[in-house]
Symmetry: D3
Subunit: 129 residues, 6 copies
């Protein structure tokens, strides 16, 4: 195992999205605890910690990708949380998802907006108009 | 028709990716010229021209989305061109595509990197190491 | 903005699916009201209002596409409503979705049929045998 | 084996798209001849031969589905041939594919239009304007 | 209709997953009873009954495919049931789904694991550690 | 970096598919050498080297997943090579891909079979009948 990589990932996760990771670890502990480790070690310890792109942009491109997948609303909401946590504004997140109408089609963009709306309501975030 | 919206889109396209749009118009002129108009009018005149997100970020989230689709390499290369044209560095583009390995899987990320490699070679772009 | 295009889209929506659009507008009003406008203006004002294909066929190909996406059951049900509203029979809708087993696989076709079943039950539509 | 079903499928294929099926059989004969049989027996003998939807509409919804998949251009071109063979006009086919921009995104719709353009050129089909 | 093929499929289904098929038949009886017949006749009577691959491997590759689709959790859970019924261990099923992180991305693999967890809980299956 | 994990992955790759990895490393060396490292370290050093599932089954479920993606024929052919290298028979590979017709639709299954046919021809592999 790569202990350093894991610790680095956990540090990023604590900063970016501690709640989602805690829930993930809990949900996986009986079936696949290694999978939570891979999220920490590979996704965060390797990828999000790479230089060359700031965390705000990393969260926005993740939101673009998961909106395009169309079938992972739990993960989409988790990354909308993460994007807000690293300093993206609600408006920036909305702009990314609206733009997905062009590339992934209107149904997936609409479902992405509904997920964003849920997260903003929970956190009492306001969109500037 | 929305003449203003179309002219606005064309202005954005001339700045962002004039070559790709010229080829697109040519390829569509016999079968669906309206589709080229929608690209100008809706995708560029409406979406890319929205405030709230800079063009560099808009191109990077588009690259994330098309890499995730996995089956539109021509459009991916066109947007890698567009990203370079609006000021993204080759390294930023590569970072976005590598990150897609986590969200869209390794095969799509690899194919995205091969497309980026082709565009960089054509334009003689170098990746800083 | 393209006022004419918007008004044309609203006219189509009032005819084809007023309830779905009202809910959509409501759900988007706090996060992305422009997105509801794009649905009216682009999807309905531009695309559904094009000549060359009747509205019944337009709704059936939309049902084929969303069944193939597989992850947008809300939009699928909305278009099953729309198809019924413009004169498609329940049987025609079922035939389209069954056929998707060949092109999009059995799981997506089955989920499409379950969505159709829900809509038909709500509206008390009967399938002729 | 279901001999009747197979013969019924072959009859439909001879009417709808004899060339594509001949090529398919040839390409599969060394690796998976049963797969060609399933195309005849299940896709054509069972599905296309069902009552309740005419063959023109069946081919148009297939075109919608394969355009939405985005990664099966050979099969898309084969069904554009099939659509023309059962009496769809080039314009109807183009309308279906343009509409996919709304549901599957612009990149897939554009690639669908390029495939249609290739087929129309081979057959010297003209779009009425 | 192919009576033999249907009976053969029913025999396989009774052995592999009788509960899921009973529910499926019930859910389809008012809208599309033929679709339940196709599941029996084509999916089970033709495909699962082919020689050349044992049923355990057939269920594991199905789980890989549906996890990759990402949007058919009901069918995924039904095939996790089927895999257990034909003798796959919970650990083997988990290994397949974890591996999908590499090919279909982490969000789809995670959702697959959550579905497996639900099925294992219902059946009181334990993962060996 | 996780040196051990990387060396373990390279050992697996040398056994499973040395040619594909050499080409991959070459294609990525100018744009994203880290991505080749992640393939070795994460995909092979972490995932394929896990206990609980033999390599033959691991390659077959990968083939199922990539056939379902539908848009990564290079990677599909590389894993068909890998499957043969770890002892899968051509017939087992064909059975997996045929079965994908049920879950991912006929177009993707057909394209998978064409890719298998190319690999078998290159290696002069024969299907037993």
């Amino acid at each position: 195992m790569s202990e350093d990589r894991y610790q680095k990932g956990i540090k990023y996760l604590k900063n970016m999205n501690p709640d989602s990771f805690r829930i993930l670890e809990k949900n996986l502990e009986d079936v696949a605890p290694d999978m939570a480790r891979y999220v920490a070690e590979f996704a965060y310890g390797e990828i999000y910690s790479r230089p060359g792109l700031d965390l705000k942009t990393r969260e926005l491109v993740t939101i673009a990708s998961i909106t395009t997948l169309g079938s992972a609303q739990t993960q989409l909401k988790s990354h909308i949380q993460g994007a807000l946590n690293v300093g993206c504004s609600p408006q920036e997140i909305i702009e990314v998802i609206i733009q997905m109408a062009v590339y992934a089609g209107f149904p997936k963009a609409l479902n992405g907006l509904f997920s964003a709306s849920e997260v903003f309501n929970e956190r009492n975030e306001k969109i500037e108009k």
